[in-house]
Amino acid sequence: MSAEAAVKIVTEHSPEEIARVKEWINTEEYKEKNFAREALVVNPAHACQPLGAQMVATGFAGALPFIHGSQGCASYFRSTFSRHFREPAAATCDAMTEDGAVFGGQNNLFEGLENAYALYKPKMIPVFTTCMPEVIGDDLTAFIKNAKLQGHLPEEVPTPYANTPSFNGSHIHGYDSMLKSILETLTEGKSIEGKCTGKLNLIPGFDGNTGNLREYKRILELFGIPYTLMADISEVFDTVCDGTYRLYPGGTKLEDAAESVNGKVTIALQKYSTTTTMKWIEETYTGEKVTIPMPFGIKKTDAFLMKLSELFGKPIPEKLKEERGLAVDALTDAHQYLHGKKFALAGDPDYLIGLVSFLLEMGAIPYHILCSRTTKKFEKEMKALLATSPFGAQGKVYINKDLWHMRSLLVTDPVDGIIGDTHAKWAARDARIPLFRIGFPIIDRVNLHRNPVVGYQGAVNILTMIANKFLDIKDETCEDQWFEMMR
């Protein structure tokens, strides 16, 4: 439009036109057009690598996450964590600007490390990148080496680093890269031939549910298995309010992480967010290494406990056997409220595998299963899981699709509820179905991250949340003659 272009009169859409489009976006025709999209992404349910890296970096005692890149990114990650956990999320950044784009970010890194170390006295500074230094090709290896050589940071401060550009993978990959780098750095030279700490290294994967991590620890304590929980954010992103702000409230002890290389067993509870780390651990760590699915529902919790029992030669604790019985009691009591109910799901790959497994156990139908950034390998694994149950027969898997695709699915082929994080609330509202908030981030409800969704207790929690919501809906919407005291 040239500057001289004719001035247009302000227009309004006619009510008929609005009504037409409003209906049209709920049609099969629209769905087809929507699924034909090649370039546009609308309402994706994934975040970027450095966010995951920050989660890992936060999970080590005395560690100060350090973002090499532009200031805005740091602000976004910190806000996201604070919104989800309702906790402080300390991290610092070297605030690269235009001159960084021209001259590189080495000077920012030098000055940043110096100030961060002096002000916040961290025990470790995990460094990770945003897009900017990745695009201009900053060499972190050299920069960090130079920073120490030139005295900007004492040689002995561990400074693991990871390249985590937003244009690769998603938050779970940043988690993976940063964790590998931290373990690599801390365990260097710590491997001792023939030494075994007798401990379990447990890697939970990208998990915004602090209750899950606490549940893992409780289970291991019941077993009497000594453990190191890696990147333990449960004491960092779920802390006491007692009148004192603590910059470093908890996290995996650095010496424990260093010793993990001589552990008896290493278990990863998420496959897709620990691929690189576990590959490296396979090559480096002594002891046994296993990756098993997150213990969602009864069977996957059974498998987790049996694995622990087998690996450590300890019987399943009576207390957990009782908990299993109680959970199964709850599931059988309430099976009728979930049986045959159709669900849509959106989330991270490892969460989806676990949740689908739970739904199949309940006789519920995982129907639309969507992951907004993942691989064919995940699709294959999900399909195989669905094939294990008649309740999985109707399940369809959508990879690298977003929540606007999901909306089309929900309005053309309805379900009873959707499981996902807060981002799914728009699609849920348009489809007039409840959203069961499981995943990350949950920024519009309180305390959900404190309730475990894994283990036997987690199964009861999910069941309670879903079944009671369906009962609420029935009570709120049924006609008077169907309004009953008992449900």
Partner: protein, 480 residues
Amino acid sequence: MSERKPIAGVTKEKTEKLIKETLAEMPAKAAKKRAPHLGANEPSASPCAVKSNKKVVPGVMSQRGCAYAGAKGVVWGPIRDMVHVSHGPIGCGVYSWGTRRNLMQGIPGVTSFPMDFTSDFQERDIVYGGDKKLEKLLQEADELFPLNKGMSILSECPVGLIGDDINAVAKKMEAELGKLVVPCNCEGFRGVSQSLGHHISNDSIRDHIIGKFAFPDPVGPYDVALIGDYNIGGDVWAAKPILEEIGLNVKSVWTGDGEVEKIGATHQVKLNLIHCYRSMNYMCKVMEEKWNIPWLEYNFFGPTKIEESLRAIAERFDDTIKANVEKVIAKYKPVMQTVLDEYKPRLEGKTAMLFVGGLRPRHTIGAYEDLGIQITGAGYEFAHQDDYDRTAPEMARGTLIYDDVSEFELEKFVEELKPDLVGSGIKEKYVFQKAGIPFRQMHSWDYSGPYHGYEGFKVFARDVDMAINSPTWKLVKSPF
């Protein structure tokens, strides 16, 4: 303006000592860089001695965002009938999706677009460039969301670094689609804060939108526009009715719940009323120079400032409006008195410290003072010299002024001044709450609002009282 009454225990000497002690804990070079940004208030000093709008000191925990955040989150995002494309990798679009609470009318996905549209750049886009993808993306967006009144392209860091030409794509697609396609080169690495993002966005609105449309009805003597209100928690919906009640016609709003074509016709109004001076003064100046439209700053936080502002607005119009203003003030006086009667007894004599964006610290002072609360410290994430010059007279002598304050510094200041309330952002909220200090998020009204206008003051008073007097704070210290 008369000077603020002094605050007990606050003196220039004490404040300067506190600043000195805080700086002493920092490395020499960082302390030297930070020193000019901290000061004790001198109400009559002009210019205000505190320096601003400089680079963040690397390694200190700054609360600042970036140019993209200013462009997408603040200026463009709230325009409800456009598709705003976050062009680049996934992160920026996701984190800025729905997190600023700029409410909008309309049917989501049909006539309003409070969504995350992104090109979700992958490595191949960085290597080969994203221009082709952008063209395709805009076509797809227009096809799937046909009632959009235009599209904006907000570029993220990599787009500028690899040298993609979004301006050329926008020009081409505007011709092809026959509707507004506006490029905004707001890469996050540009400038030192959100502020440059506002400026870049304003420039793109100036170049691509304003003057391109006209209102269908003849222009009237009472036509005004609301500039720099982003409808956080419904603020616009509380401010607009007051202006309408005094007889003005609000023809367009920038940009909260805004409509692009009406924004494009703003050059026809008689007066621009600007709320967020920091983010939008550029536009008022442009319209003044090019179309001779006068502009006026106003402040709708708290009854005192509302009255002052309404009378100042009335001065720009005839006796009808002047009479209406007095009527409106008289009408709401008893309503506001009821609010004060309820809350002031519990809040009188309390103190608060503020650290927000580029406007609210100085604009909300009046509302706190209406409730009997004194402000002992104030500062901005991304203000400029003129903002601080406007702040100094609003603050009492010797109070703390801090620019781009780091978490380290703010903690020290709060520890020393022991305010009854801290008003700041989400990143600071839990730091202070853990320390047992009442807090309100003043970027987002802590999921409440509106805070503007008469309706807003009721909510503000309730929220401030709720925060300071919540019995939960008394539980923080355990009895054992």
